[in-house]
Symmetry: C5
Amino acid sequence: MGRIAIDELRRISGLKCIRYTVPGIKDLPVAAKKLFDDGCEIVITLGWVGKTQKDLVSYLAMSIGLITVQLLTGKHVIDVTVHEDEAENEKELLAIAENRVREHVRNAVDLLLNPKRLQKLAGTGQRQGQPDVGPIMR
Amino acid sequence: MGRIAIDELRRISGLKCIRYTVPGIKDLPVAAKKLFDDGCEIVITLGWVGKTQKDLVSYLAMSIGLITVQLLTGKHVIDVTVHEDEAENEKELLAIAENRVREHVRNAVDLLLNPKRLQKLAGTGQRQGQPDVGPIMR
Amino acid sequence: MGRIAIDELRRISGLKCIRYTVPGIKDLPVAAKKLFDDGCEIVITLGWVGKTQKDLVSYLAMSIGLITVQLLTGKHVIDVTVHEDEAENEKELLAIAENRVREHVRNAVDLLLNPKRLQKLAGTGQRQGQPDVGPIMR
Amino acid sequence: MGRIAIDELRRISGLKCIRYTVPGIKDLPVAAKKLFDDGCEIVITLGWVGKTQKDLVSYLAMSIGLITVQLLTGKHVIDVTVHEDEAENEKELLAIAENRVREHVRNAVDLLLNPKRLQKLAGTGQRQGQPDVGPIMR
Amino acid sequence: MGRIAIDELRRISGLKCIRYTVPGIKDLPVAAKKLFDDGCEIVITLGWVGKTQKDLVSYLAMSIGLITVQLLTGKHVIDVTVHEDEAENEKELLAIAENRVREHVRNAVDLLLNPKRLQKLAGTGQRQGQPDVGPIMR
């Protein structure tokens, strides 16, 4: 997922990035904190989460931690998590992962450089990693 | 939902507002923090949450984060969340969303300008987004 | 519930109180914080919680927030929550609510003025809002 | 449970203690904080938790709060919780409670005065309140 | 588990370590904090978790606490948790535990001394304590 994120970042912007790999998703919050301390403006976290209750609990702890990091630094962390139970087979799961990574990299770039684009997309049913569902019609 | 909130705010008050759009609900706490840092007196967050356990976990992380923001700033965040499993169909869900947004905008305005009105409504079974259930009779 | 709490407080003590009404239970932590900042010695929160998983999640976020407020201020928050699934019908639920409010107001007053009384009651099966179950016999 | 803890503490050490009784388990974190502020070196919390989902949620909030207190003070809180669903009948539950209280009081004393003893016990299957299961053999 | 960790650490590095034993997993966050205060550069926590909902809740509180410690100190805590329901029998569980401890000790050493190795392993399906699943092919 890291390779895809860097590829997308290079494709759509001239922004520089630092890559920091950790053993598991619960190690992401402190890694994000260290990257901000090193001068990063935004962090994109990439995580792969299993199917068990224990995995969901770890995902919760990670999410609370990432929000804490954001409140401490006043900067955004865009969390890209792929849950193994989101698809029936590996091929579909990979497609979701790649799609989600690329869309969230674009979101992160927009938050930094072009926040008005996100406003236009809000409420139009964008689903990162899945076909967009479209807005609800009336 | 953002459009409805702004419409209601203009209808009932002369308060100014800033709109800040983020990719997902877990991005709301830091956005609220930044708005307070920019001088806002109250923040209304608008979120749309899916039906899965993972969505509920994200909602929990967001809720803890929003409470932390409030404790850090001493200011209220009125959280308007619509859960996709609250209604049978899209039309009903949209009605709930619009109703809830408008009522919570009124609550936010009351908290700032007219806190006594909330006191009169407490315990009378107000349900934002659903028909009010009325007070419990004895 | 607010009216009952004030009634009980006046009945058993000469303590003064400030009433602060908020739209929902997740708004209670910051309200408690503001009351402490305004000079209150103890806060009693009154909340009514629905039956869904989402309500339980909101109750968790509120509980964590109220504990955080207590740690920040070094003062007690006595949380009186009534869960809608605690009784079969509305009459029973109202009786639980009134009983729980009155007993917790007494607990709050004891914490401030008479902490030894709580020590005598500990382990005797006091259940706020339900008939006391009595101590476990050996 | 408080009486048993004090009895055990006197039996195995000359340490002094302060007893602080609160209405419910969610009141324990701030009570522990106040005891540390008053000069205590370690706190043992004693709680009795019901069987419902709501009780488990309260136990979680309490646990997060107690860990926060420890991080704020740099001191240990030994949490002794008895869950009502741990035994079939009251007699068994009482035996678990007494056993757990006594073992955790010993743990607390060891943490203060004799940390090497805990190291020797680690991995030998000690279960506070239940018969020890013994180490796993190979 | 402590003995295995120290054995692996000595086998692959000349790093020194301090061992700190606590009664239960919820005691780990403050212990980690104290080790960092004493000058440690990284902490490896070793925990054994039961099968009940209560155990999962304790695991969640511990996880949130360990992430908080990392954010307070800016240093990594590598959490090695073995859940009793991960294997059918004790022999298998022990094999998982030993394997997971050794792999996480290597991860901790890499984070300190050789962060590039982790980057090469990311996305290749490493599973600490279980046979690696290999990368997902396309």
